[in-house]
Protein backbone atom coordinates (compact mmCIF):
# COMPACT_ATOMS: atom_id res chain seq x y z
CA UNK A 1 0.00 0.00 0.00
CA UNK A 2 1.56 3.23 -1.10
CA UNK A 3 1.32 6.60 0.53
CA UNK A 4 -1.49 7.59 -1.82
CA UNK A 5 -3.46 4.52 -0.91
CA UNK A 6 -2.96 5.24 2.76
CA UNK A 7 -4.16 8.82 2.28
CA UNK A 8 -7.25 7.66 0.42
CA UNK A 9 -7.92 5.06 3.10
CA UNK A 10 -7.69 7.76 5.75
CA UNK A 11 -10.05 10.06 3.87
CA UNK A 12 -12.42 7.13 3.44
CA UNK A 13 -12.45 6.48 7.15
CA UNK A 14 -13.17 10.17 7.82
CA UNK A 15 -16.08 10.09 5.42
CA UNK A 16 -17.37 6.96 7.11
CA UNK A 17 -17.20 8.62 10.50
CA UNK A 18 -19.09 11.55 9.04
CA UNK A 19 -21.68 9.17 7.66
CA UNK A 20 -22.13 7.51 11.02
CA UNK A 21 -22.52 10.91 12.60
CA UNK A 22 -25.21 11.79 10.08
CA UNK A 23 -26.85 8.45 10.86
CA UNK A 24 -26.82 9.25 14.55
CA UNK A 25 -28.31 12.68 13.92
CA UNK A 26 -31.06 11.05 11.91
CA UNK A 27 -31.65 8.55 14.73
CA UNK A 28 -31.98 11.32 17.32
CA UNK A 29 -34.42 13.13 15.05
CA UNK A 30 -36.50 9.98 14.77
CA UNK A 31 -36.43 9.85 18.55
CA UNK A 32 -38.18 7.13 20.46
CA UNK A 33 -39.76 5.54 17.38
CA UNK A 34 -36.41 4.34 16.17
CA UNK A 35 -35.57 0.69 16.25
CA UNK A 36 -31.87 -0.02 16.43
CA UNK A 37 -31.08 -3.19 14.55
CA UNK A 38 -29.16 -5.92 16.29
CA UNK A 39 -27.12 -8.84 15.13
CA UNK A 40 -29.35 -11.87 14.84
CA UNK A 41 -29.79 -13.55 18.18
CA UNK A 42 -31.69 -16.48 16.85
CA UNK A 43 -30.23 -19.75 18.04
CA UNK A 44 -30.62 -22.56 15.59
CA UNK A 45 -29.59 -25.17 18.12
CA UNK A 46 -30.18 -24.38 21.72
CA UNK A 47 -29.57 -26.41 24.81
CA UNK A 48 -31.71 -26.22 27.88
CA UNK A 49 -29.42 -26.65 30.85
CA UNK A 50 -27.93 -30.07 30.16
CA UNK A 51 -30.20 -31.19 27.35
CA UNK A 52 -28.23 -30.72 24.18
CA UNK A 53 -29.62 -31.34 20.74
CA UNK A 54 -27.72 -34.11 18.98
CA UNK A 55 -27.66 -33.57 15.24
CA UNK A 56 -26.00 -35.89 12.78
CA UNK A 57 -23.41 -34.32 10.54
CA UNK A 58 -25.33 -35.20 7.39
CA UNK A 59 -28.57 -33.65 8.54
CA UNK A 60 -29.74 -30.30 7.24
CA UNK A 61 -31.05 -27.87 9.79
CA UNK A 62 -32.11 -24.57 8.28
CA UNK A 63 -30.65 -21.58 10.07
CA UNK A 64 -34.11 -20.22 10.60
CA UNK A 65 -35.32 -23.33 12.39
CA UNK A 66 -35.02 -23.71 16.11
CA UNK A 67 -34.08 -27.00 17.67
CA UNK A 68 -34.30 -26.79 21.42
CA UNK A 69 -33.51 -29.22 24.21
CA UNK A 70 -33.40 -32.97 24.05
CA UNK A 71 -33.62 -33.59 20.31
CA UNK A 72 -31.89 -36.27 18.28
CA UNK A 73 -31.78 -36.01 14.52
CA UNK A 74 -30.43 -38.90 12.47
CA UNK A 75 -28.40 -38.86 9.32
CA UNK A 76 -29.89 -37.58 6.07
CA UNK A 77 -32.77 -35.89 7.81
CA UNK A 78 -33.77 -32.34 7.12
CA UNK A 79 -35.36 -29.71 9.30
CA UNK A 80 -36.62 -26.99 6.97
CA UNK A 81 -37.11 -23.27 7.28
CA UNK A 82 -39.04 -21.98 10.21
CA UNK A 83 -39.48 -25.33 11.94
CA UNK A 84 -39.55 -25.55 15.68
CA UNK A 85 -38.52 -28.76 17.44
CA UNK A 86 -39.01 -28.12 21.10
CA UNK A 87 -37.84 -31.00 23.23
CA UNK A 88 -37.91 -29.11 26.49
CA UNK A 89 -39.91 -31.31 28.82
CA UNK A 90 -39.25 -34.61 27.09
CA UNK A 91 -37.19 -36.00 24.26
CA UNK A 92 -37.72 -35.87 20.53
CA UNK A 93 -35.98 -38.35 18.31
CA UNK A 94 -36.04 -38.05 14.55
CA UNK A 95 -34.82 -41.03 12.54
CA UNK A 96 -32.65 -40.98 9.46
CA UNK A 97 -33.81 -39.78 6.07
CA UNK A 98 -36.79 -38.01 7.58
CA UNK A 99 -37.88 -34.60 6.42
CA UNK A 100 -39.77 -32.12 8.53
CA UNK A 101 -40.91 -29.43 6.15
CA UNK A 102 -41.25 -25.70 6.59
CA UNK A 103 -43.02 -24.12 9.53
CA UNK A 104 -43.80 -27.43 11.21
CA UNK A 105 -43.84 -27.74 14.96
CA UNK A 106 -42.79 -30.79 16.92
CA UNK A 107 -43.36 -30.61 20.60
CA UNK A 108 -43.69 -33.05 23.48
CA UNK A 109 -46.16 -33.58 26.23
CA UNK A 110 -45.30 -33.10 29.86
CA UNK A 111 -43.41 -36.10 31.08
CA UNK A 112 -44.62 -38.21 33.95
CA UNK A 113 -48.11 -36.90 34.42
CA UNK A 114 -50.37 -39.80 35.39
CA UNK A 115 -47.40 -42.01 34.82
CA UNK A 116 -47.31 -42.08 31.06
CA UNK A 117 -44.25 -40.65 29.43
CA UNK A 118 -44.79 -39.22 26.01
CA UNK A 119 -41.67 -38.50 24.08
CA UNK A 120 -42.07 -37.81 20.39
CA UNK A 121 -40.46 -40.38 18.16
CA UNK A 122 -40.36 -39.99 14.42
CA UNK A 123 -39.03 -42.98 12.48
CA UNK A 124 -36.91 -43.23 9.37
CA UNK A 125 -37.87 -41.86 5.95
CA UNK A 126 -40.92 -40.08 7.31
CA UNK A 127 -42.30 -37.11 5.43
CA UNK A 128 -43.85 -34.50 7.65
CA UNK A 129 -45.53 -31.86 5.50
CA UNK A 130 -45.53 -28.10 5.81
CA UNK A 131 -47.06 -26.58 8.85
CA UNK A 132 -47.82 -29.86 10.60
CA UNK A 133 -48.08 -29.91 14.37
CA UNK A 134 -46.86 -33.05 16.14
CA UNK A 135 -47.43 -33.11 19.84
CA UNK A 136 -46.15 -36.00 21.89
CA UNK A 137 -46.89 -38.67 19.31
CA UNK A 138 -45.19 -41.59 17.63
CA UNK A 139 -44.70 -41.77 13.89
CA UNK A 140 -43.22 -45.01 12.59
CA UNK A 141 -40.94 -45.55 9.59
CA UNK A 142 -42.04 -44.41 6.16
CA UNK A 143 -45.23 -42.78 7.32
CA UNK A 144 -46.57 -39.62 5.77
CA UNK A 145 -48.00 -36.71 7.68
CA UNK A 146 -49.65 -34.32 5.24
CA UNK A 147 -49.61 -30.55 5.12
CA UNK A 148 -51.13 -28.79 8.07
CA UNK A 149 -52.04 -31.97 9.89
CA UNK A 150 -52.20 -31.95 13.66
CA UNK A 151 -51.33 -34.98 15.76
CA UNK A 152 -52.30 -34.67 19.40
CA UNK A 153 -50.86 -36.48 22.39
CA UNK A 154 -50.36 -40.19 22.13
CA UNK A 155 -51.35 -40.44 18.48
CA UNK A 156 -49.58 -43.32 16.84
CA UNK A 157 -49.05 -43.44 13.10
CA UNK A 158 -47.97 -46.91 12.06
CA UNK A 159 -45.66 -47.85 9.24
CA UNK A 160 -46.69 -46.66 5.76
CA UNK A 161 -49.79 -44.97 7.10
CA UNK A 162 -50.76 -41.56 5.91
CA UNK A 163 -52.40 -38.60 7.57
CA UNK A 164 -54.07 -36.49 4.92
CA UNK A 165 -53.64 -32.74 4.66
CA UNK A 166 -55.40 -30.69 7.28
CA UNK A 167 -56.38 -33.67 9.39
CA UNK A 168 -56.64 -33.47 13.14
CA UNK A 169 -55.75 -36.74 14.82
CA UNK A 170 -57.24 -36.86 18.29
CA UNK A 171 -55.59 -38.15 21.46
CA UNK A 172 -54.42 -41.76 21.58
CA UNK A 173 -55.61 -42.58 18.07
CA UNK A 174 -53.78 -45.36 16.35
CA UNK A 175 -53.57 -45.19 12.59
CA UNK A 176 -53.04 -48.74 11.30
CA UNK A 177 -50.64 -49.93 8.65
CA UNK A 178 -51.22 -48.58 5.16
CA UNK A 179 -54.36 -46.54 5.75
CA UNK A 180 -55.22 -42.95 4.95
CA UNK A 181 -56.92 -40.92 7.63
CA UNK A 182 -58.25 -37.44 7.15
CA UNK A 183 -60.75 -34.87 8.31
CA UNK A 184 -61.40 -33.31 11.65
CA UNK A 185 -61.43 -35.43 13.80
CA UNK A 186 -59.46 -37.86 11.67
CA UNK A 187 -61.35 -40.86 10.35
CA UNK A 188 -60.45 -43.73 8.09
CA UNK A 189 -60.77 -42.73 4.44
CA UNK A 190 -59.25 -45.47 2.33
CA UNK A 191 -56.37 -47.88 1.95
CA UNK A 192 -53.09 -46.78 0.42
CA UNK A 193 -52.20 -48.25 -2.94
CA UNK A 194 -48.83 -49.85 -3.64
CA UNK A 195 -47.82 -46.91 -5.81
CA UNK A 196 -48.46 -44.43 -3.06
CA UNK A 197 -46.41 -46.44 -0.59
CA UNK A 198 -43.57 -46.43 -3.09
CA UNK A 199 -44.08 -42.71 -3.57
CA UNK A 200 -43.69 -42.00 0.14
CA UNK A 201 -40.26 -43.57 0.33
CA UNK A 202 -39.36 -41.90 -2.96
CA UNK A 203 -40.38 -38.50 -1.65
CA UNK A 204 -38.22 -39.01 1.42
CA UNK A 205 -35.23 -39.74 -0.81
CA UNK A 206 -35.96 -36.73 -2.98
CA UNK A 207 -36.11 -34.54 0.06
CA UNK A 208 -32.82 -35.85 1.36
CA UNK A 209 -31.19 -34.87 -1.92
CA UNK A 210 -32.91 -31.51 -1.96
CA UNK A 211 -31.82 -30.84 1.59
CA UNK A 212 -28.20 -31.34 0.63
CA UNK A 213 -28.49 -28.55 -1.93
CA UNK A 214 -30.11 -26.25 0.58
CA UNK A 215 -27.56 -27.14 3.22
CA UNK A 216 -24.72 -26.27 0.87
CA UNK A 217 -26.38 -22.99 -0.01
CA UNK A 218 -27.08 -22.01 3.58
CA UNK A 219 -23.59 -22.85 4.77
CA UNK A 220 -21.92 -20.42 2.42
CA UNK A 221 -19.75 -17.65 3.72
CA UNK A 222 -19.87 -14.04 2.72
CA UNK A 223 -17.14 -14.21 0.07
CA UNK A 224 -18.71 -17.17 -1.63
CA UNK A 225 -22.08 -15.46 -1.76
CA UNK A 226 -20.58 -12.35 -3.28
CA UNK A 227 -18.63 -14.38 -5.83
CA UNK A 228 -21.75 -16.19 -6.93
CA UNK A 229 -23.64 -12.94 -7.18
CA UNK A 230 -21.00 -11.66 -9.56
CA UNK A 231 -21.06 -14.87 -11.57
CA UNK A 232 -24.81 -14.81 -11.81
CA UNK A 233 -24.72 -11.25 -13.03
CA UNK A 234 -22.15 -12.16 -15.60
CA UNK A 235 -24.04 -15.14 -16.93
CA UNK A 236 -27.52 -13.66 -16.63
CA UNK A 237 -27.51 -12.32 -20.16
CA UNK A 238 -26.51 -15.63 -21.58
CA UNK A 239 -28.62 -16.52 -24.56
CA UNK A 240 -27.89 -19.83 -26.19
CA UNK A 241 -29.23 -18.87 -29.61
CA UNK A 242 -27.13 -15.76 -29.77
CA UNK A 243 -24.08 -17.65 -28.60
CA UNK A 244 -24.54 -20.27 -31.28
CA UNK A 245 -24.93 -17.55 -33.89
CA UNK A 246 -21.62 -15.96 -33.12
CA UNK A 247 -20.09 -19.33 -32.42
CA UNK A 248 -19.05 -19.17 -28.80
CA UNK A 249 -19.63 -21.87 -26.29
CA UNK A 250 -20.19 -20.54 -22.83
CA UNK A 251 -20.12 -22.95 -19.98
CA UNK A 252 -22.24 -22.40 -16.94
CA UNK A 253 -19.77 -22.06 -14.10
CA UNK A 254 -19.57 -24.95 -11.69
CA UNK A 255 -20.82 -22.86 -8.80
CA UNK A 256 -24.11 -22.18 -10.53
CA UNK A 257 -25.10 -25.70 -11.48
CA UNK A 258 -27.30 -27.66 -9.19
CA UNK A 259 -26.63 -31.34 -8.65
CA UNK A 260 -29.07 -33.17 -10.89
CA UNK A 261 -30.18 -35.64 -8.27
CA UNK A 262 -32.82 -33.29 -6.92
CA UNK A 263 -34.88 -33.34 -10.05
CA UNK A 264 -35.54 -36.90 -11.11
CA UNK A 265 -36.39 -37.32 -14.80
CA UNK A 266 -36.24 -33.61 -15.34
CA UNK A 267 -33.50 -31.94 -17.31
CA UNK A 268 -31.59 -29.19 -15.61
CA UNK A 269 -33.36 -25.98 -16.47
CA UNK A 270 -31.48 -22.79 -17.02
CA UNK A 271 -32.46 -19.66 -15.24
CA UNK A 272 -35.52 -18.01 -16.62
Amino acid sequence: MGTLGRAIYLVGSWIRVAGQTVDRVGCTLQGSHLFQEQVSRHRTLMNLFDKDPVIDKDAFVAPGASVIGDVQVGCGSSIWYGCVLRGDVNSISVGSGTNIQDNALVHVAKSNISGNVMPTTIGNNVTVGHGAVLHGCTVEDEAFVGMGATLLDGAHVEKNAMVAAGALVRQNTRIPFGEVWGGNPAKFMRKLTEEEIAFISQSATNYTNLAMVHAAENAKGFEEIELEKALRKKFARKDEEYDSMIGVVRETPVELTLPDNILPDKAQKTAA
Binding site: E37, R43, K57, S93, G148, A165
Partner: protein
Protein backbone atom coordinates in the same frame (compact mmCIF):
# COMPACT_ATOMS: atom_id res chain seq x y z
CA UNK B 1 -23.57 -2.64 46.94
CA UNK B 2 -25.41 -3.67 43.81
CA UNK B 3 -22.26 -4.99 42.26
CA UNK B 4 -21.51 -6.97 45.40
CA UNK B 5 -24.94 -8.58 45.36
CA UNK B 6 -24.54 -9.34 41.69
CA UNK B 7 -21.20 -10.97 42.42
CA UNK B 8 -22.61 -13.14 45.17
CA UNK B 9 -25.53 -14.13 42.98
CA UNK B 10 -23.13 -15.01 40.23
CA UNK B 11 -20.96 -17.20 42.41
CA UNK B 12 -23.99 -18.86 43.90
CA UNK B 13 -25.51 -19.62 40.53
CA UNK B 14 -22.31 -20.99 39.10
CA UNK B 15 -21.89 -23.18 42.15
CA UNK B 16 -25.41 -24.43 41.96
CA UNK B 17 -24.88 -25.03 38.28
CA UNK B 18 -21.76 -27.09 38.89
CA UNK B 19 -23.34 -28.96 41.73
CA UNK B 20 -26.46 -29.86 39.82
CA UNK B 21 -24.38 -30.70 36.79
CA UNK B 22 -22.38 -33.15 38.89
CA UNK B 23 -25.53 -34.58 40.40
CA UNK B 24 -27.06 -34.94 36.99
CA UNK B 25 -24.09 -36.83 35.64
CA UNK B 26 -24.12 -39.06 38.71
CA UNK B 27 -27.79 -39.74 38.27
CA UNK B 28 -27.20 -40.62 34.66
CA UNK B 29 -24.39 -42.92 35.63
CA UNK B 30 -26.63 -44.63 38.16
CA UNK B 31 -29.56 -44.87 35.79
CA UNK B 32 -27.49 -46.46 33.01
CA UNK B 33 -29.27 -44.28 30.52
CA UNK B 34 -31.53 -46.30 28.22
CA UNK B 35 -30.30 -46.52 24.64
CA UNK B 36 -32.10 -44.22 22.21
CA UNK B 37 -34.97 -45.91 20.37
CA UNK B 38 -33.39 -45.25 17.02
CA UNK B 39 -30.87 -47.93 16.17
CA UNK B 40 -28.87 -45.61 13.93
CA UNK B 41 -25.68 -44.19 15.27
CA UNK B 42 -25.60 -40.43 15.23
CA UNK B 43 -22.23 -38.96 14.48
CA UNK B 44 -22.15 -35.33 15.38
CA UNK B 45 -20.37 -32.68 13.42
CA UNK B 46 -18.41 -30.57 15.89
CA UNK B 47 -18.32 -27.69 13.41
CA UNK B 48 -22.06 -27.41 13.11
CA UNK B 49 -23.07 -23.80 13.56
CA UNK B 50 -25.30 -23.36 16.57
CA UNK B 51 -25.72 -19.67 16.11
CA UNK B 52 -25.28 -17.89 12.83
CA UNK B 53 -24.77 -14.21 13.47
CA UNK B 54 -26.29 -13.46 10.09
CA UNK B 55 -29.52 -15.16 10.99
CA UNK B 56 -31.52 -16.74 8.22
CA UNK B 57 -30.86 -15.24 4.81
CA UNK B 58 -33.95 -13.84 3.23
CA UNK B 59 -33.01 -14.61 -0.34
CA UNK B 60 -31.56 -18.02 -1.00
CA UNK B 61 -30.43 -18.54 -4.58
CA UNK B 62 -30.15 -22.12 -5.77
CA UNK B 63 -27.79 -22.60 -8.64
CA UNK B 64 -28.76 -20.08 -11.26
CA UNK B 65 -32.15 -19.40 -9.78
CA UNK B 66 -32.23 -16.16 -7.93
CA UNK B 67 -35.47 -15.09 -6.26
CA UNK B 68 -36.60 -11.79 -7.70
CA UNK B 69 -38.37 -9.15 -5.68
CA UNK B 70 -39.86 -6.12 -7.38
CA UNK B 71 -38.71 -2.75 -6.09
CA UNK B 72 -41.99 -1.81 -4.51
CA UNK B 73 -42.95 -5.21 -3.16
CA UNK B 74 -42.78 -5.61 0.58
CA UNK B 75 -41.16 -8.76 1.83
CA UNK B 76 -40.87 -8.99 5.60
CA UNK B 77 -37.38 -9.52 7.00
CA UNK B 78 -37.90 -13.03 8.29
CA UNK B 79 -39.42 -14.44 5.14
CA UNK B 80 -37.45 -17.11 3.31
CA UNK B 81 -37.44 -16.99 -0.46
CA UNK B 82 -35.57 -19.87 -2.04
CA UNK B 83 -35.04 -20.76 -5.66
CA UNK B 84 -37.35 -19.64 -8.43
CA UNK B 85 -39.55 -17.14 -6.68
CA UNK B 86 -40.93 -14.06 -8.35
CA UNK B 87 -42.53 -11.43 -6.18
CA UNK B 88 -44.04 -8.96 -8.59
CA UNK B 89 -44.67 -5.31 -7.95
CA UNK B 90 -47.08 -4.08 -5.33
CA UNK B 91 -47.33 -7.46 -3.68
CA UNK B 92 -46.47 -8.17 -0.09
CA UNK B 93 -45.20 -11.21 1.74
CA UNK B 94 -45.65 -10.99 5.49
CA UNK B 95 -43.67 -12.24 8.44
CA UNK B 96 -42.72 -15.84 8.80
CA UNK B 97 -43.80 -16.94 5.36
CA UNK B 98 -41.70 -19.45 3.44
CA UNK B 99 -41.74 -19.43 -0.35
CA UNK B 100 -39.67 -22.32 -1.55
CA UNK B 101 -39.43 -22.62 -5.31
CA UNK B 102 -36.75 -25.26 -5.47
CA UNK B 103 -38.60 -27.66 -7.72
CA UNK B 104 -40.77 -25.29 -9.66
CA UNK B 105 -41.62 -21.65 -10.13
CA UNK B 106 -43.58 -19.56 -7.66
CA UNK B 107 -45.11 -16.27 -8.70
CA UNK B 108 -46.83 -13.77 -6.47
CA UNK B 109 -48.66 -11.44 -8.79
CA UNK B 110 -49.40 -7.74 -8.87
CA UNK B 111 -50.88 -6.33 -5.66
CA UNK B 112 -51.37 -9.79 -4.14
CA UNK B 113 -50.38 -10.63 -0.65
CA UNK B 114 -49.24 -13.74 1.14
CA UNK B 115 -49.86 -13.26 4.81
CA UNK B 116 -48.11 -14.45 7.93
CA UNK B 117 -46.69 -17.93 8.33
CA UNK B 118 -47.79 -19.14 4.92
CA UNK B 119 -45.85 -21.85 3.18
CA UNK B 120 -45.83 -21.77 -0.59
CA UNK B 121 -44.07 -24.62 -2.26
CA UNK B 122 -44.17 -26.26 -5.65
CA UNK B 123 -44.10 -29.97 -6.35
CA UNK B 124 -42.31 -31.74 -9.19
CA UNK B 125 -45.37 -32.44 -11.17
CA UNK B 126 -49.03 -31.90 -10.81
CA UNK B 127 -51.69 -34.59 -11.16
CA UNK B 128 -53.77 -32.43 -13.47
CA UNK B 129 -52.79 -30.98 -16.82
CA UNK B 130 -51.85 -27.69 -15.20
CA UNK B 131 -48.21 -26.74 -14.96
CA UNK B 132 -46.84 -27.63 -11.56
CA UNK B 133 -45.83 -24.12 -10.70
CA UNK B 134 -47.56 -22.08 -8.05
CA UNK B 135 -49.20 -19.07 -9.61
CA UNK B 136 -50.77 -16.43 -7.44
CA UNK B 137 -52.19 -13.88 -9.83
CA UNK B 138 -53.08 -10.26 -9.24
CA UNK B 139 -55.25 -8.93 -6.41
CA UNK B 140 -55.23 -12.20 -4.50
CA UNK B 141 -55.37 -12.22 -0.74
CA UNK B 142 -53.89 -15.34 0.81
CA UNK B 143 -54.70 -15.42 4.51
CA UNK B 144 -52.41 -16.31 7.35
CA UNK B 145 -51.21 -19.90 7.90
CA UNK B 146 -52.15 -21.02 4.41
CA UNK B 147 -50.32 -23.90 2.79
CA UNK B 148 -50.12 -23.72 -0.97
CA UNK B 149 -48.54 -26.37 -3.08
CA UNK B 150 -48.44 -26.22 -6.87
CA UNK B 151 -51.80 -24.55 -7.15
CA UNK B 152 -53.01 -21.83 -9.45
CA UNK B 153 -54.99 -18.95 -8.04
CA UNK B 154 -56.51 -16.76 -10.70
CA UNK B 155 -56.97 -13.00 -10.29
CA UNK B 156 -59.09 -11.49 -7.55
CA UNK B 157 -59.61 -14.29 -5.09
CA UNK B 158 -59.56 -14.52 -1.34
CA UNK B 159 -58.08 -17.57 0.35
CA UNK B 160 -59.13 -17.65 3.99
CA UNK B 161 -56.79 -18.28 6.84
CA UNK B 162 -55.38 -21.72 7.50
CA UNK B 163 -56.53 -23.06 4.15
CA UNK B 164 -54.66 -25.83 2.46
CA UNK B 165 -54.45 -25.98 -1.31
CA UNK B 166 -52.92 -29.17 -2.55
CA UNK B 167 -51.27 -30.13 -5.82
CA UNK B 168 -52.90 -28.94 -8.98
CA UNK B 169 -55.89 -27.24 -7.44
CA UNK B 170 -57.23 -24.26 -9.30
CA UNK B 171 -59.14 -21.34 -7.87
CA UNK B 172 -60.77 -19.35 -10.64
CA UNK B 173 -61.43 -15.62 -10.72
CA UNK B 174 -63.59 -13.88 -8.12
CA UNK B 175 -63.84 -16.85 -5.79
CA UNK B 176 -63.58 -16.97 -2.06
CA UNK B 177 -62.34 -19.87 0.05
CA UNK B 178 -63.50 -19.75 3.63
CA UNK B 179 -61.04 -20.06 6.48
CA UNK B 180 -59.78 -23.53 7.29
CA UNK B 181 -60.80 -25.17 4.06
CA UNK B 182 -58.83 -27.92 2.40
CA UNK B 183 -58.70 -28.28 -1.36
CA UNK B 184 -57.77 -31.84 -2.34
CA UNK B 185 -55.45 -32.44 -5.29
CA UNK B 186 -56.81 -31.42 -8.66
CA UNK B 187 -59.93 -29.68 -7.37
CA UNK B 188 -61.24 -26.67 -9.26
CA UNK B 189 -63.27 -23.85 -7.81
CA UNK B 190 -65.36 -22.23 -10.53
CA UNK B 191 -65.73 -18.51 -11.03
CA UNK B 192 -67.57 -16.42 -8.47
CA UNK B 193 -68.33 -19.03 -5.84
CA UNK B 194 -67.80 -19.38 -2.14
CA UNK B 195 -66.40 -22.68 -0.91
CA UNK B 196 -65.68 -23.92 2.58
CA UNK B 197 -64.91 -26.99 4.65
CA UNK B 198 -62.55 -29.92 4.75
CA UNK B 199 -62.64 -31.15 1.98
CA UNK B 200 -63.94 -27.95 0.40
CA UNK B 201 -67.57 -27.89 -0.70
CA UNK B 202 -69.73 -25.39 -2.52
CA UNK B 203 -71.57 -22.98 -0.25
CA UNK B 204 -73.15 -20.33 -2.46
CA UNK B 205 -72.65 -17.98 -5.36
CA UNK B 206 -71.11 -14.62 -4.63
CA UNK B 207 -73.10 -11.48 -5.22
CA UNK B 208 -71.82 -8.76 -7.49
CA UNK B 209 -71.08 -6.44 -4.55
CA UNK B 210 -68.90 -9.08 -2.91
CA UNK B 211 -66.84 -9.61 -6.04
CA UNK B 212 -66.26 -5.87 -6.18
CA UNK B 213 -65.02 -5.94 -2.60
CA UNK B 214 -62.28 -8.50 -3.28
CA UNK B 215 -59.78 -6.25 -5.12
CA UNK B 216 -60.51 -3.48 -2.62
CA UNK B 217 -59.30 -5.73 0.18
CA UNK B 218 -56.12 -6.52 -1.73
CA UNK B 219 -55.50 -2.83 -2.32
CA UNK B 220 -56.09 -2.05 1.35
CA UNK B 221 -53.48 -4.62 2.34
CA UNK B 222 -51.17 -3.17 -0.29
CA UNK B 223 -51.56 0.26 1.34
CA UNK B 224 -50.74 -1.23 4.70
CA UNK B 225 -47.66 -2.90 3.26
CA UNK B 226 -46.47 0.47 2.02
CA UNK B 227 -46.28 1.66 5.62
CA UNK B 228 -44.17 -1.34 6.51
CA UNK B 229 -42.04 -0.85 3.45
CA UNK B 230 -41.23 2.72 4.47
CA UNK B 231 -40.14 1.49 7.88
CA UNK B 232 -37.15 -0.34 6.45
CA UNK B 233 -34.15 1.44 5.03
CA UNK B 234 -32.66 0.04 1.83
CA UNK B 235 -29.54 -1.09 3.65
CA UNK B 236 -29.55 -2.18 7.26
CA UNK B 237 -26.97 -0.93 9.71
CA UNK B 238 -26.19 -4.34 11.13
CA UNK B 239 -22.76 -4.36 9.54
CA UNK B 240 -21.73 -1.74 12.07
CA UNK B 241 -22.82 -4.02 14.90
CA UNK B 242 -20.94 -6.90 13.31
CA UNK B 243 -17.82 -4.77 12.97
CA UNK B 244 -18.12 -3.80 16.63
CA UNK B 245 -18.54 -7.43 17.57
CA UNK B 246 -15.50 -8.45 15.53
CA UNK B 247 -13.46 -5.68 17.10
CA UNK B 248 -14.41 -6.76 20.58
CA UNK B 249 -13.37 -10.32 19.78
CA UNK B 250 -10.18 -9.14 18.18
CA UNK B 251 -10.95 -10.40 14.70
CA UNK B 252 -9.47 -8.20 12.01
CA UNK B 253 -12.06 -6.85 9.61
Amino acid sequence: MASLSRLTRKTLTTHRHLLSRALATEAVAVKQSPPPPSSVKITENPDRVKWDYRGQRKIIPLGQWLPKIAVDAYVAPNVVLAGQVNVLDGSSVWNGAVLRGDLNKITVGFCSNVQEKCVVHAAWSSPTGLPAETMIERFVTVGAYCLLRSCTIEPECIIGQHSILMEGSLVETHSILEAGSVLPPGRRIPTGELWAGNPAKFVRKLTHEETLEIPKLAVAINDLSKEYFNEYLPYSTIYLEVEKMMKSHGISI
